[in-house]
């Protein structure tokens, strides 16, 4: 593979790059722009109004974070279906800390909730990496366990906006140069994650592990540690998303963020992260998450009852994996042609 890339002429390399590489993210970005343009054409306040602009950028932020974490895990050929429960649990913890300890500094609450998310991710990762049990089973177990702890802790209680300090709620909707603060934080996380996966040795190793776990092991990569790290990243970002959830909505009950696991996995898949591991970028996953949320908000404007939103998401997911399949086949054929030519 690498020899082909080196010996192939530059034009061929560019073609391969476009057909199998960035083209995927560009395609999904194009779809996102199309949705936004269509919705704006119908109702200009979708983008060109204070609230419209803010919601456009702000609403995807929590799912964006969860999807980035999910992409880390899926790239290593694992899956984390406990993320919805982690978001719910950390969101409630955030509210509970404010309600129980009035006057507690916001920074301490945020750090505690994020660390708690990391701890939950560590539990997942440790069970998967050391017990050698498929991630699907372990995280299905922790999905129930974490949600159960949440329900037991919350009971029929609910955190209301009045329980939360005003500055924290303001943080949820604050804007800097018209861009919401939460979105800025999410984008910074995205930049760091993308840079790490592209440039750091340990980031590349995540791809190697996902492409072929046994080969990665034989090659001497620290697979256990890397997989553990991926789950901790997923837990940490879900914890941060829990804080975002609390700041954005202010109302948290025991069922907060139920079902987010499928949204996050679906968003990653739409964005070109292959469920079998080793392929995809957090850029794609992030755009997938934004597309998922934005379509949800755009459908009623486009005159489609929002009841159909999930059906559209389903079509998108299936369309995306079929497209990936077609692209992969085409790329394979091109690579074989390139090899035969040289």
């Amino acid at each position: 593979m690498s020899t082909t890339a080196v010996t192939a002429p530059n034009a061929g390399r560019l073609k391969t790059f476009l057909s199998g590489g960035r083209m995927r993210e560009l395609g999904i970005l194009l779809a996102l722009i199309l949705v936004i343009v269509a919705a704006t054409a119908k109702n200009s306040s979708f983008v060109f109004s204070g609230d419209g602009w803010r919601d456009l950028l702000l609403t995807p932020a929590p799912l964006l974070l969860v999807t980035i974490g999910q992409a880390f895990v899926i790239i290593t050929r694992n899956v984390d279906i406990s993320v919805g429960s982690i978001v719910g649990l950390t969101a409630y913890m955030t509210g509970w800390l404010f309600a129980t300890f009035p006057g507690i500094p916001i920074a301490i609450v945020v750090v505690t909730a994020v660390l708690f998310g990391a701890l939950l991710g560590l539990v997942n990762g440790a069970l998967v990496a050391f017990a050698k049990v498929p991630a699907m089973v372990i995280t299905l177990g922790t999905l129930y366990a974490f949600r159960g702890i949440n329900v037991l802790w919350t009971g029929s209680n609910r955190i209301n906006p009045s329980d939360l300090p005003k500055p924290f709620l303001r943080f949820g909707t604050a804007q800097f140069l018209t861009i919401p603060l939460l979105t800025i934080v999410a984008i910074v996380v995205l930049l760091i994650a993308a840079w790490y996966l592209k440039n750091m040795r340990s980031g590349r190793e995540l791809y190697a592990i996902g492409s072929d776990p046994e080969a990665a092991n034989l090659y001497g990569l620290k697979t256990t540690r890397r997989v553990l790290t991926a789950f901790i990243v997923s837990g940490t970002l879900s914890g941060l998303a829990g804080v975002f959830y609390a700041a954005r909505y202010g109302t948290i009950d025991s069922q907060a963020a139920t079902g987010w696991e499928f949204n996050a996995i679906g968003a990653a898949v739409i964005g070109g992260v292959a469920i079998v591991g080793g392929v995809g970028t957090v850029w794609g996953a992030a755009i997938g998450a934004i597309l998922l949320i934005t379509i949800n908000r755009a459908l009623p404007i486009l005159g489609i009852a929002d009841f159909w939103q999930q059906a559209v998401v389903g079509v998108l997911i299936i369309g995306a994996i079929v497209l990936d399949r077609v692209l992969a086949r085409r790329q394979k054929r091109r690579l074989i042609e390139a090899r035969d030519d040289s």
Binding site: A131, G141, R147, G155, G259, F262, W308, V312, G314
Partner: protein, 349 residues
Amino acid sequence: MTTSTATTTSIVQFDFDRPLWRRILATREFAIIGLLILVIVVASFAVDGFAQPLTYNYLLLDVAPILFIALPMTLVMTTGEIDLSVGSMAGLASVTTGAMVQAGAPFEIAAACALVVGVVGGAFNGYLVTVVGLPSLAVTIGTLALFRGIAVGVLGTTAVTEFPEFWTALAKAKLAGTSIPWVVVPFVVLLVIFVVLYHFTPFGRGIFAVGLSADAAKFSGVDVKRTKFIVFVLAGAVAALAGIFYTLRYGSARGDNATGLELQVIAAVVLGGVSVFGGRGKIHGVIAAVLLIGALSSALRLSGVTSDIINIITGGLLIISVVGASLFAWAKKRRSAVSPARAAASSAS
């Protein structure tokens, strides 16, 4: 390939060193059945009102949809695939029945159409997985959203509640003179069909072969694609059946019926000893696991413990059962006095 065959043989030989009763006792299925009996016995003594016919009646009615879908899910997971869309399919079947009854169709026709929808939906999953060659996890996350989306889209937030008295009564009816719900009869029929299909037919052996190694199965003459396609169709059809039952039991067809059922089914199937890698599973283990979760939650509810704790127990049992099994295997490997070569072979497999 050769190493793994050698390992399997060595394990089988190792097992034959022990008497038959110990081999049976040491199985995971027996552990689950034992746990189920333990829960029932302890709850009968310790929990007021558990040893009542009515408790068993509600228990069976509550777990019936899970019991139904667990049968084909066992087959799907034994081939090494997964179907996350079953809960949504149950919901879609419920909505299909409801929408058609609302439009004036007789209930029997509506239910038959819902079954057809189940077969078509299952075939759609099967087509994408076998012919297009896509991973079933991704495909069925897609159809999980798609089927649910259509169900919610058709009925919106409305519910259909006008079903023939005869059928809604039948869903809750008891067998004459007992407290066993009538739904047990169709379940037992399905159970027999699935047990025979899974454990006693060439097709069933093919399911295991596909799960152990699709390549080896192909070279042994098993039609891998056909096998997988059929199990997905079965999953869709039975999920639709469960959806129809769900509709009748609660007398209501809604877009969000049976939401999240897929995870309950998969948790029970895995707890019952079906390997997510495929190639291993026993139907009696799965049935025992469904009943175990049902009995535990019913006992807890009756004893006044908040029933919410059932989430923790389901999750905890699932994790302990898989982690425990792998710890057990690890300990056994260390203890067994096999030659270093054999130990190396078993760790490689």
